[in-house]
Amino acid sequence: MSTRQAWLGDCSALAVTPAMFVPRAAAAQAAPIKIAAGQIDAQAQAYYAQDQGYFHDRGLDTSITTFHNGAAGAAAIAGGEAQVGVSRVLQIAQAHAHNLPFVIIAPGGIHEWPYHVSGLMVAAASPIVSAKELSGKIVAVASLNGLDGLKVRALIDRAGGDSSTVKFVEIPPSATVEALAQGRIAASNVEDPERSTALRSGVARSLGDGEDAIGVRFVQTGWYTTTEWLGANKDAAASLRQRSTRLEAGR
């Protein structure tokens, strides 16, 4: 693992400098809370809660800024441009391992078997019927070092294959089904809505959901902030936690 600056340097075009990590206790006391959220379903909780007034009901002055990837959101939080973010737990842990002072204040999306929103897909005409047959094959993921790559590895290994022999390639989610149909890849992790669309159209089938290989139940995304902001805003953090975990039950 390298330094936090090196990790963030890989993240985005945002100019992150060490000066951004100086204490901002005074700024953290300000009432407005800018939430950095992404565009995947497991982060959509932020939009639902904001739209339904779940935070404003508690007197929280929240607004959402959308980032195209979690790393850019993390850079914004580390730099003080946003106070709270919603990101994949794995990505938060990777940032934490690079000495970014992040702490998870609330859970977000959760995987609970037998509910699936992703699958390791092969073309409908593929002779492959088990993930273990993917040893040595070309498999696409959206992010090799993210949750995508992790769950594909876990599924292949649990099925009796050897993920260390797989040739992983990174392909944008929108292009994976076409790559499967063209035979350029043997399999790909596909998320909803592309997964459901591919299954309905019959162009691809699923070998299983790699998230089941990680656990029957685990939190995929979390709400996080810096230890500094949390230290100065525990009441606000508690309200965010309380309201975000009410979202599913409140509908």
């Binding site: 939009y47 509910y115 809505p193 139940r217």
Partner: protein, 61 residues
């Protein structure tokens, strides 16, 4: 989401995306143990060092 139609309208409003949202579910309680499986898997495959969820999750105090 338990109200996918309503959720779809919200995502269209904020993200400009159309279509029915997935069957994504959201946690209804904060349990550090629920974070551990992904941390263990990430450590197993060398993506993160071994990490206890309690070091990453706020205990509410």
């Amino acid at each position: 989401m338990s109200a996918p139609g309503k959720a779809a309208l919200i995502l269209q409003k904020y993200l400009g995306v159309t279509g029915t949202p997935s069957a994504q579910r959201f946690a209804t309680a904060m349990r550090a143990a629920d974070f551990q499986p992904i941390l263990d898997a990430g450590a197993h495959y060398g993506l993160i060092p071994a990490t206890s969820a309690v070091t990453l999750v706020w205990d509410g105090r």
